[in-house]
Every structure is written in structure tokens, then in C-alpha cells.
């Protein structure tokens, strides 16, 4: 210090003593206050008592002494009274000096800077968290939407398996469905000798045969614009002219019958080509959906009953058609007359055999 000019020394002294409210304590080896001075009043510490333990009077000194790392500097300590001090401890022959220098403006300044930095960091962290949450919410939403539309497509395709598309649409719109159709053709087809052959080949082969037959009936109905209405045991029921009317319903169904018979013959059942009995009749029917939770689209009316009777009367591999159907077929269809035959519940009926 002796090298420093008197004026500077004096300025430094004044600065720390006045501007920074220097205060000091001397603490003896028993950790009692030995001496005090300077601007203690500034820190609300003027009542400190000489000769009494320092830690009882200055809480922050609890546990600090003896301090092996002197000199020790604790910047910016906010005392219970609210003042902020830089604390300097240094040793002096077994005693310790504790110097207080006011640091309130520095602390406040640093706090403002730090505050901005931390707030910015917190905002960024929060933004990251929210973005992550948004992303995972979006992901979950997308997944559940996908699941939903998968379920919807499944339900849709199930519905289309049992109902014609236009009927399914109307059903979804909650319509009551019971439509009269003046002109349609109805077909029944079953497998010749099904019961006996099923017994001889066993369940697995029988199922495979039925599967082949019904699949062929499905595929051909798409091809010829017919609707497969249902299967009853080994019997298929199909219709043409439904749900959209068409004037060539009899011809469409006749072609369907010829192809179905061909498809059957390509398969073998118990060692013989798969044979069908097919019957067709044309006339008015009522079509509708019954049931609330398990929908059944079905046809009703005399036309349906007579078609079933004709089918029962058919010979193996024969496509038997009613006179009404025959009248609707063009000259390209070759038919043999069968004369009038007595059918149960209907009386004598004129029928034809469709050859090709």
C-alpha cells in the first residue's frame, strides 16, 4: 500500500468505508466477538455483543468456524435483515476478521441479468416439453384415427358381404328397406348327392367343396351383375334385376347359371365332377332387410317359392327354368321343353331345360 499515492489510498478507503458501508468484526479462538467496528448499523448489527459467541448472534456463522480455507470470500449474502453483503474472512494469529461490504446494487444488477437468462431457458424448456406433448398427442390421434378407419373399412366390407352395396348405403342412412321389384329372376342351385358324398369324404373335404362352390357363386355374381343373396346348407340363392332394375335380368341369370354349372364341373367331389341342380323363375318379389343388429337381406314372394320348387325338380346337372323365364330369353339361349309338371303347392307348371 505504501507505493500507492496517499490520494488513491484515501479514495479507496473512503470508497469502501462510505460507498460500500464497510464493517468488521474480530472473532477470537473461542469463536466469540472480540472487537467490532465500522458501519455495522447499516447491516442492522449494531447490537452485537463483545465477548459472546458469534454464531449465537450471527446465524450464518453457525458451523463456519474454524475455517481451514482462510481467507474465505462469500459474495452476495442476503442477511435476514434484507441487506446484501460481500463477506470476507481472513485469519490473524488464531483470530478471524470478518469484513462486510455492501453488495446490494451488484446483487440486484446480477439478479436482473440472471433472471432474464433463466426465464429464457425456462421458456425454451417449456416450449420443448409442449412440442413433445403436442407431437405425441398428434401421434396418438393419428393412430386412433387409423384404427377407427380400419374398423370402419372392416365393418364396411362385412356389411357388403351380406348386403348389396346400395342397400348397405341406405341401411347406414337408417332407412327402412322393403322394396317391391316387379321384374327379377331368382335362382337356386344345390349340389347333387351332397349329403351322401359329404358323409363319404369327411368334413374337411366337404368344407373345401362348399367353399369352392360358394366362392365361384360370389365371383360369377360380380361378373354377371347378379346378387348372391344367401346360402342355405349346400344351396345358393341368387337374383338378377336387383337392387337396380335391368330388363335382361333373365339372360344375366341364365348366363350366370351356365357358368356356375361349368365352374362346378371343373371340381371333383367324392371322385366325380361336382354336379348342380339349378332352377330359375322370373316375376315380382319383395326385397328387404330384416333384423336390427344382425342384418339379413332377403327376398320374399311366390316367385321365390316357385324358383325353389323348380330347382328341387331339376335333374342332376340340369338348369331348369320356368316358362316365364324362358319367354324372356333371346334366341341365343338353347332350351328344351319339358312339358307340364306337377309341382307341390303350385299345380301344373310348364318348364324348360336350358342347355347353353
Amino acid at each position: 500500500m505504501s507505493r500507492v499515492p496517499k490520494e488513491v489510498r484515501s479514495w479507496i478507503y473512503d470508497f469502501f468505508y462510505n460507498e460500500r458501508s464497510a464493517a468488521y468484526l474480530k472473532i477470537d479462538a473461542r469463536q466469540c466477538i472480540e472487537e467490532k467496528g465500522g458501519n455495522l448499523e447499516h447491516y442492522g448489527l449494531s447490537s452485537l455483543r463483545i465477548g459472546k459467541p458469534v454464531a449465537d448472534q450471527l446465524e450464518f456463522m453457525e458451523g463456519l468456524l474454524p475455517c481451514p480455507e482462510l481467507p474465505f470470500h462469500m459474495p452476495m449474502m442476503e442477511l435476514p435483515g434484507g441487506h446484501v453483503a460481500d463477506l470476507h474472512l481472513f485469519g490473524d494469529n488464531g483470530s478471524v476478521w470478518l469484513v462486510f461490504l455492501d453488495a446490494t446494487p451488484e446483487r440486484d444488477h446480477q439478479q436482473r441479468l440472471q433472471q432474464k437468462a433463466y426465464e429464457m431457458t425456462l421458456l425454451q424448456e417449456r416450449e420443448r416439453q409442449l412440442n413433445a406433448k403436442l407431437q405425441s398427442t398428434n401421434e396418438a390421434l393419428r393412430e386412433s384415427q387409423e384404427g377407427l378407419s380400419r374398423e370402419y373399412r372392416r365393418a364396411e366390407s362385412l356389411l357388403l358381404n351380406i348386403l348389396p352395396a346400395s342397400i348397405a348405403e341406405r341401411l347406414k342412412a337408417d332407412e327402412q328397406i322393403a322394396d317391391s321389384h316387379a321384374e327379377v329372376s331368382v335362382l337356386f342351385a344345390d349340389i347333387v348327392g351332397f349329403t351322401e358324398r359329404a358323409r363319404s369324404v369327411g368334413a374337411t373335404t366337404t368344407l373345401a367343396i362348399l367353399n369352392y362352390f360358394f366362392k365361384a357363386a360370389d365371383l360369377l355374381s360380380e361378373q354377371y351383375g347378379c346378387e348372391k343373396i344367401k346360402t342355405i346348407g349346400d344351396c345358393v340363392m341368387a337374383v338378377a334385376g336387383l337392387p337396380t332394375a335391368r330388363s335382361d335380368h333373365a339372360e344375366a341369370l341364365a348366363n350366370y347359371a351356365l357358368e356356375l354349372r361349368e365352374a362346378a364341373r371343373r371340381e371333383h367331389f367324392a371322385g366325380e365332377p361336382l354336379g348342380l341342380r339349378i332352377g330359375i323363375h322370373s316375376g315380382p318379389i319383395v326385397a328387404g332387410v330384416i333384423g336390427k343388429r344382425r342384418f339379413v337381406y332377403d327376398l320374399w314372394g311366390d316367385t321365390v317359392n316357385l324358383a325353389a320348387r323348380i330347382q328341387k325338380a331339376a335333374e342332376p346337372d340340369e338348369i331348369r327354368i320356368s316358362d316365364a323365364t324362358h319367354q324372356l330369353l333371346g334366341p341365343e339361349f338353347a332350351c328344351d321343353p319339358l312339358g307340364e309338371t306337377e309341382l307341390r303347392g303350385t299345380g301344373r307348371v310348364r318348364m324348360w331345360r336350358l342347355r347353353r
Binding site: L64, V84, Q111, Q115, E119, L122
Partner: protein, 164 residues
């Protein structure tokens, strides 16, 4: 007179100052004001057989653990480790601070506080994680300086640990 120095340790903005204010003055402020340096507070905790004066050192939370002044902890007999339950990274900060303190001054009693339990919709610490820490025999509290939930319990627990 039984007087014990306790240090509040944890990352920044986890709620150390708010927990001390809640415990000492029973108040809470929504405004976040970062602590610079250290703030000293005192609170007496009464037990049937004795009273413990806790001298609470509310240390500035650092985002950079390297700049933590471990010498501030000299003379402490217990730690309050504070984690922000909505910011999982603050758990690692609290545990690292404890390791640094123990390396310097040896093991000392502590309580671990998962704070801001009132922010349920932003909570980011799983029950499993907390159970796992409890199985180490640690004293863990889910606290809210806002509502005061479990704040007194946590400080009382630590007071009883350091008094013995």
C-alpha cells in the same frame, strides 16, 4: 441452544426460495425471482423434548453445476435437495450437487423434495422412479410451495434427523 445449518440445493427455478418462504413465512408468490448468491433465513422447529433452530442457506440454483460454490456448505449438518417435478433433468442436478457436497464434507442427512406437486398435468416424474429412490431408504416428499403440501413435514423430518 440447538442451532443447525441446512443448505437448500437444486437446479435453478425448482422452488428452493419458495419452499423456504412457505416454511418460514407461510407465504407464496407466483412471481419467479432468481436467487443470486445466498439468502439466510431462520426457523425454529419445536419437538416435545427440544427446539431446533434451522439456519437455512438458500443457495443460488445453478444451471451450470461446475460453478456451484461447494464451500458455502461448510458447517452444514443437513441438506434439502429440491427437484422440480415438471422438469425431470433437475433430479440429476440435485443428485450431482449432493455428490459434490459429500465428496467435500462427507455424508450428511438430507431430504429429497419433488416440488410443484400442484402442477399435476405437467408432472413428469413417474411413481416408479420415486419408489425406487425410496427403496434406498431416502426421505422423499412430494411438495408444493404453492399449496404448502408436505412442506412442513419435510423440514420437520430433516430437523429431527439433524437434531439427533
Amino acid at each position: 441452544m440447538l442451532q443447525k445449518k441446512i443448505c437448500m440445493l437444486g437446479g435453478f427455478a425448482v422452488g428452493k426460495t419458495s419452499l423456504v418462504r412457505r416454511f418460514v413465512q407461510s407465504i407464496f408468490s407466483e412471481n419467479y425471482l432468481t436467487t443470486v448468491g445466498v439468502k439466510i433465513d431462520k426457523k425454529s422447529v419445536a419437538f416435545p423434548d427440544k427446539t431446533v433452530d434451522l439456519i437455512l442457506w438458500d443457495l443460488a440454483g445453478e444451471d451450470d453445476i461446475g460453478s456451484f460454490r461447494v464451500s458455502y456448505v461448510r458447517g452444514a449438518t443437513g441438506l434439502v435437495l429440491v427437484v422440480d417435478g415438471t422438469r425431470p433433468a433437475t433430479l440429476a442436478v440435485a443428485l450431482t450437487l449432493r455428490e459434490r457436497v459429500e465428496a467435500e464434507f462427507g455424508a450428511m442427512p438430507f431430504v429429497l423434495l419433488f416440488n410443484k406437486s400442484d402442477l399435476a398435468d405437467r408432472w413428469a416424474i413417474s411413481d416408479g422412479e420415486i419408489d425406487e429412490l425410496r427403496q434406498r431408504g431416502w426421505q422423499i416428499y412430494l411438495t408444493s410451495a404453492l399449496s404448502g403440501e408436505h412442506v412442513d413435514d419435510a423440514f420437520r423430518q430433516l430437523a429431527s434427523m439433524v437434531a439427533n
